[in-house]
Symmetry: C3
Subunit: 270 residues, 3 copies
């Protein structure tokens, strides 16, 4: 069956590991359509992996199987897991990688993958992507029921992602992800801002910089009224983003993931 | 329908953006065959993107849809465009990315993509790759006529690529692209050289170096008669290339894109 | 026919070369399923390419065509080759890239690709991946017999990979490959160790470090009994591997490919 199976890993683009995973899937279901989301997650960075997955998976068709492997705890007691939601299946380690799925999707069931009938015959202690997750995904794509593959779980692990603090005076969030353009993507949603924006103009404080108001596109950073081309805008995922015109905002502003971002009503001297 | 859709972008291999584009395409046409040409274009480098696209697209079968997104002007007045040629379709921003297509192919029509029926429901100001180009390509692959997707355009934007100056004494070109092996690919075509080669031996000047004559393959740089292993040859795309045996010519010669390359008849002291 | 064709190259993820190869294949067989194993092999590093290929190819289904191109001798007398084994086909330069295939697989025939009917019409001296290997793979995927594509060869080139020296007192191997996690993969197989392990505990010497015994998973490096988190274990491919908990062992230990690894019985002071 020509089900789509996506891959999100920290395996990089050099080693044989991604190829081995694809080979295992195609050996079980030669008609599976394998789609790479990313193999460039920083190694063992589960939070980053969960971010990348969460910004790509919702665009795939119903029935897609999303395999994600960022797995520093491979070979320990962390459980291999299959999550079935209303629209998708997710397969990978139960280590928080699926936090946004578990908190944001309509979850139907979570299965601990403990039926080795659907694993490779020899399961290594260090490469469950190839030995457990790939074959499970392939069997699932052939129509095996999730319930056959393991045991229902009551709870699974979610990361404590930083919350946005909203008060009448200040909205405080932080930089969640820096993309390869250097854009700073925060955890502040468009809707978090709506009330404050209704009251007047806003200022955005990040690092030592204050950015005045929101723009609509990256190129408005070229208009000159703004120092150093740094602008704030609602990005393509609906979150507040800080960018720099034809520049890398992360480098220009000296900001890393976790940096605090404050939004205030602009004082009017009238 | 199993049409091929290629992708050429500057999105890199880490972020969720490529995955989102693929998801959008497959949600509209699950049978589309998506082929990555490159996601490693240097960010916002339209000239580089146009070079990479132009050296890969001609090898694909008739009917292939080529999507290219290097789009520093996203969200501004630059137009989203669909170009139909005798063999292919090209979709992306009208910013010069399709220069070699527009000047070298038999263009049938150029359409400004202004019919939002073929976009995602919510179009962001910052990610037209996902919201406009991907869905347009997918609908096109299902057989929607280009004329339904927008308005015919009279003109579209082409880059002024550097010309080769040819005189009886000297042929002057420049380095257009440096590939990841460090080979310097110039804008001088094999045919530009034919007349001079008919008259005698040639010398190639680049930076502080003079290379004597052409070789046929990279390994001739190992023969020792040539200083530092630098050689000149007609590369696989039919352009003059400067390479270094088992070395990175760009680094060894200290050359960047735009460096001038002069070709002269060798003086005979007889 | 929907045959799988894998690609393993040193072309990188930026240039148009990978795209051109895929275009050529799909122009000849639009139903070929192209799977990237790696395009990140270090340039012209045949040994590394052979390692990556050898750790990925065995996972693919019977009948898969594996194309590998790490080809410093392109355009010289090195021969383009097609190897048919019991399960697979391998296509690429005859330069040692297929060493593990030739020594480890049941080889049925080796063909020198000298029938230009199956090449692109114009074969460049510098890009046989596009002009010879891609079209050959595509024609093969359509059912052309290997024997039609060239001439049987008696011998082909294999690399002299470093051997493990086994004596009662010491097992001496070396680091063959360092993956992108920094794990040091040696040429010492699990079976090489079995006899010594039956006699008692072992110590592993690498660089200035002695690691005591084997662990089962990477995370055991966190238990604190081991200096600097360096651990030794049998990796997912059945070879002795040296890793560091949440760290890059290659950097932490200052080790490169070729570094010697010695295994000794631990002295018991009793």
């Amino acid at each position: 069956m020509s089900t789509i199976i996506t891959l999100t890993t920290d395996f990089g683009n050099k080693d044989p590991w991604v190829g081995a995973v694809k080979g295992v899937i195609l050996s079980i279901n030669p008609e599976a359509i394998i789609v790479d989301i990313s193999h460039g997650i920083s190694q063992q960075q589960v939070v980053e992996g969960s971010f990348v997955l969460s910004h790509a998976y919702p665009y795939f068709p119903k029935g897609t199987i999303h395999v994600a492997v960022v797995d520093p705890g491979v070979g320990t007691e962390r459980r291999p897991v299959l999550i079935e939601t209303e629209r998708y299946f997710f397969i990978g380690p139960d280590n928080g990688l699926f936090t946004q799925v578990l908190t944001g999707e309509n979850v139907k069931q979570v299965i601990e993958l403990d039926n080795s009938d659907y694993f490779l015959p020899d399961v290594s202690m260090t490469f469950h992507g190839r030995d457990i997750f790939a074959p499970t995904a392939a069997h699932l794509s052939l129509g095996v029921a999730p319930s056959q593959m393991g045991t229902m779980m009551e709870e699974s692990i979610t990361l404590e992602l930083p919350c946005v603090e909203i008060s009448p005076d200040i909205i405080r969030g932080e930089v969640l992800y820096i993309d390869s353009f250097g854009n700073l993507i925060t955890n502040i949603k468009e809707t978090d801002l709506s009330e404050m924006l209704a009251c007047g103009d806003i200022d955005i404080d990040v690092r030592w910089r204050t950015i005045h108001g929101l723009v609509e596109s990256y190129t408005e950073g070229s208009h000159g009224e703004r120092t150093d081309g740094a602008v704030a805008l609602i990005g393509s995922s609906g979150f507040l983003e800080i960018a720099a015109f034809k520049d890398n905002a992360a480098v220009a502003l000296g900001v890393s993931v976790g940096e605090r971002v404050d939004i205030r009503l602009r004082l009017k001297l009238s």
